[in-house]
């Protein structure tokens, strides 16, 4: 997995590429925590993400909890297999998620 970090003022875009699993999730969590200070708009770009397990959901949920207090968060360009994980857990109803 690769994380592409793009910061434009108070906007942070994390582009995630490859597989978000138990073993790769800590790297995404670190990228989020290292860069989230002062951010009011957090965007996860999942265009190149082709796999996500529950470890990924944990990071997204904890990011969403952080951003509820200080701004907005959305997940964009979600592919069909990954969207299924959001749908099955009901997170698609409570998070701002856009499919590709």
């Amino acid at each position: 997995m690769n994380v592409n970090v793009q910061k434009e003022g108070a906007k942070l875009i994390l582009g995630v590429e490859g597989k978000l699993s138990t073993n790769t999730a800590p790297a995404l969590e670190k990228a989020m925590k290292d860069n989230v200070e002062g951010v009011t708009e957090l965007v996860f770009d999942f265009e190149k993400l082709d796999y996500m397990a529950s470890a990924g959901l944990r990071i997204l949920l904890s990011s969403a909890k952080i951003m509820k207090k200080k701004g907005s968060m959305k997940i964009i360009n979600v592919t069909e297999p990954v969207m299924e994980v959001f749908n099955l857990t009901g997170l698609s109803d409570v998070m701002d998620i856009e499919t590709i």
Partner: protein, 135 residues
């Protein structure tokens, strides 16, 4: 049926997923089904790696059986660790808001939702967890 016996550590997760995928390669699984299967394998193997032998380590066996007509795959996880039925845990409330949701507890729930069959038994000192998915 193919079997992989491997030390149950999170570091071995990729090898386990690769082993399962190899057995399915010739059957042309769709992307969505492939991800659902890989996800179930990850959640169940990581569960064993984290809890079965903790704080010691031990082995897990992963058995893959592809059944033809109708095409389906049956995957069985066996470990000799502490008796533990992950399916007994109650399902998370999927209607809760972001603020009210606990962070964890979604892995096994995803397995239950995405597989066509999930079964646990404790037999002869072994945890035996079987999943089945029509492909």
């Amino acid at each position: 049926m193919k079997e992989l016996k491997i030390e149950a550590t999170p570091q071995n997760l990729d090898s386990v997923i690769q082993f399962v995928d190899e057995q399915l390669e010739e059957y042309g699984c769709g992307m969505k089904q492939q991800m659902a299967i890989d996800l179930a394998v990850e959640e169940l193997f990581v569960n064993i790696a984290h809890y079965a032998y903790n704080p010691e380590t031990g082995y897990a066996s992963v058995l893959v059986d592809v059944i033809k007509d109708p095409l389906s795959v049956e995957i069985t996880f066996i470990d000799n660790g502490k008796p533990y039925d992950p399916l007994a845990k109650s399902d998370p409330d999927t209607s809760l808001s972001v603020e009210d949701r606990p962070i964890g507890g979604m892995g096994i729930f995803l397995v239950k939702k995405s597989m066509d069959l999930v079964n646990y038994e404790y037999k002869d000192g072994k945890n035996i967890l079987t999943i089945k998915k029509n492909i």
